[in-house]
């Protein structure tokens, strides 16, 4: 169900020719305002929300951004932009395996996500697993993308080493970062990335309100230690 709210005032008059008709001026100016208003609607979610955790440069190996259509060629009836095909899911030996920490639940991912894991204890905290072919923009770009998501300024590449925690696993070493946003309701993000021998890059991101994420962090680190390919 949808609730539609006309909102905000109008900052410019309606179409000039219409204003000249004195009788219709009020109506038409009102219409002009309506067309310029910021619209607001509360829409029920019927499908899973677009994955908000797609790493940078997800569209191609050379950092090509995902593009819905070349400019100027989208037919009027085409699918709306945003329909990004998910990357191929690794199978067999390329599929990363793990042991689920006690009390955690796992759901298969959709779209860009490989899997979604939820820690116990309630509160707003969720972990996503995403896999992309190639370096997917590199470590610095992804770390800064993560920081940008919670309003933190980007870092120089040299500064990453001091913030990086290396977590060993049988699949390789996971570079883990821990960031907390500013503000009254703080969002915490513990995120790691792992480049596997077959050329894929795996992203693990535990994110949510600072308190439940803090509680889940030790289990998250243990989870990373269980990663393996064989």
């Amino acid at each position: 169900m949808i609730r539609i709210h006309p909102t905000l005032g109008c900052t410019r008059p309606g179409p000039a020719p219409l204003a000249a008709l004195a009788v219709a001026a009020g109506l038409l100016l009102g219409l002009g305002c309506d067309r310029d208003q910021v619209s607001h609607a509360t829409v029920a979610k019927e499908a899973p929300a677009p994955a908000p955790m797609a790493p940078a440069h997800a569209g191609g190996p050379q950092g090509m951004p995902p593009m819905a259509m070349p400019p100027g060629t989208m037919p009027p009836g085409a699918m709306p932009p945003g329909a990004l095909p998910p990357p191929p899911r690794p199978t067999g030996k390329g599929a990363l395996k793990w042991s689920l920490p006690k009390g955690w639940t796992e759901a298969p991912g959709s779209g860009m996500r490989y899997a979604t894991l939820t820690p116990p204890g309630g509160g707003k905290a969720e972990m996503s697993v995403v896999v992309l072919p190639g370096p997917a923009g590199g470590e610095a770009a992804n770390v800064n993308r993560w920081r940008g998501q919670i309003g933190l300024p980007p870092l120089e590449e040299d500064a990453l080493a001091a913030l990086r925690r290396k977590v060993p696993s049988r699949a390789g070493q996971v570079a883990v970062y821990d960031f907390t946003s500013l503000g009254e309701t703080r969002t915490r993000m513990v995120a790691g990335l792992l480049a596997t021998a077959d050329g894929n890059t795996w992203f693990f991101k535990l994110m949510g309100d600072a308190e439940p994420v803090g509680k889940a962090k030790p289990s998250f680190i243990k989870y990373l230690e269980t990663l393996h390919l064989d």
């Binding site: 169900m1 949808i2 539609i4 909102t7 905000l8 900052t11 410019r12 179409p15 020719p17 219409l18 000249a20 219709a24 219409l31 067309r35 310029d36 910021v38 619209s39 607001h40 609607a41 829409v43 979610k45 929300a49 677009p50 994955a51 908000p52 955790m53 940078a56 440069h57 997800a58 569209g59 191609g60 950092g63 951004p65 995902p66 593009m67 259509m69 400019p71 100027g72 989208m74 037919p75 009027p76 009836g77 085409a78 699918m79 709306p80 932009p81 945003g82 990004l84 707003k124 993308r145 940008g148 998501q149 919670i150 309003g151 300024p153 980007p154 503000g183 009254e184 309701t185 703080r186």
Partner: protein
């Protein structure tokens, strides 16, 4: 002196000459507008010639545009004023002129109807895949910077800033949120490509836009082209800048940021109008004549759901048989994705009846006038014969 001038103006305004000149100008505008469609597209030509005060064109060598012809709005306004003045000036209760009054009223209504259509007509599309449920319309021409609050697991708060407000330097506050959007650049149309090693740094420092080179492009001229509308915007909340992001109708990657625990998604998309009901595409059919590839019929079997009115029903939309609902007509317009996607054109025009009404009035008025004249002529002849 002033009074005499005013009287002369009044006489001129109510004169038949102004009527004739206005009608000739309107005819010329129709021809010019039709020719201009090859260069400007249908909507561009209508806006430039018919819905403008003056037809402005840029001549070679001049840095500014010049008014070259009166626009349809100006001519229409003069015609309405002329016809109204003529009605008032020549007003008398002589029943023999009743037909002419009706004709004048019909003409005024015809011109006024175009103003109503220009102001109130809504023309949009609804794109649905088989099995999909859609509860919004998309504008053909207007875009919006959408900010979607994804935080609630059950609902999405959708905010749409129309492209008409996306001016460089504009600062737009989103009501009910702590967010303010600063518009750094806006492009009606642009070409986007991956940023090369020799390209200048992007204005965007967050999201996929940091790796994109954007070049401004002229607005789409023909009806077959669609603008790649793009903007660089900086969300600010609680005094914190969330960086500069590139949003474009041709960028598909979701771009989000989190403020105070709320997740916001930024995108540029066709302007949406949400409906209090939804339409589900059950089946799209593309029928052809047996043994040929010649299309016979396109149809969409849709399910209309309006819980507020307790309505749940299936409707078959096919060529020239639209679904008429809630003051809107849903026409079968296009299809795609291997005949699994249907595009409905949705039209709403509160003034749709006015042209019919005005034509009926003009016809009635002419019949009355000619009938009265004929009756009087026959009566005069009979009187002469009687003498």
């Amino acid at each position: 002196m002033i009074r005499r001038f005013a009287v002369r103006c009044w006489i001129l305004l109510a004169s038949l000459q102004v009527t004739i000149v206005s009608l000739v100008l309107l005819m010329a505008l129709v021809v010019l507008c039709t020719l201009a469609q090859t260069e400007l597209g249908t909507l561009g030509a209508v806006n430039a010639y018919m819905r403008s005060w003056l037809v402005m064109r840029q001549l070679q060598g001049l840095p500014f545009r010049l008014p070259l012809f009166p626009g349809g709005a100006l001519v229409g306004l003069v015609l309405v004023a002329n016809l109204s003045a003529a009605l008032v000036r020549r007003f008398d209760f002589n029943p023999r002129k009743f037909g002419l009054w009706v004709v004048h009223a019909g003409l005024i209504l015809l011109v006024a109807g175009e103003f109503v259509t220009g102001a109130f007509q809504m023309d949009a599309r609804m794109t649905i895949e088989q099995g999909q449920t859609v509860d919004y319309l998309e504008s053909y021409h207007q875009m919006e910077l959408a900010v979607s609050d994804l935080t609630d697991p059950a609902h999405t708060e959708e905010y749409g800033i129309p492209d008409s407000r996306l001016k460089e330097g504009a600062v737009i506050a989103l009501p009910g949120t702590p967010l303010t959007l600063k518009v750094k650049r806006f492009y009606v149309n642009a070409a986007l490509s991956p940023r090369g090693p020799n390209d200048p740094p992007s204005l965007a420092d967050r999201g996929v836009g940091a790796g994109v080179t954007l070049t401004e492009a002229p607005p789409a001229a023909s009806d077959k082209e669609v603008n790649a509308t793009s903007a660089f915007v900086e969300p600010v909340a609680g005094g914190v800048s969330y960086g500069t992001w590139l949003v474009s109708t041709v960028l598909g990657a979701p771009q989000t940021f989190i403020h105070e625990g709320r997740t916001y998604l930024l995108s540029m998309r066709p302007r949406r109008t949400y409906l209090p009901y939804s339409v589900t595409l059950r089946k799209f059919s593309h029928d052809i004549y047996p043994g040929t590839d010649i299309p016979k019929n396109f149809s969409s079997l849709v399910h209309l759901s309006n819980p507020a009115r307790g309505e749940q029903r299936d409707v078959l939309i096919y060529m020239n048989q639209p679904l008429r609902y809630d003051g809107k007509a849903f026409y079968q317009a296009s299809y795609g994705k291997g005949d699994t996607l249907s595009v409905l054109q949705v039209v709403s025009n509160p003034g749709w009846l006015l042209p019919y009404l005005s034509c009926a009035l003009i016809t009635l008025g002419l019949l009355l006038h000619f009938g009265t004249t004929l009756f009087n002529a026959i009566k005069r002849r009979q009187e002469q014969e009687a003498v």
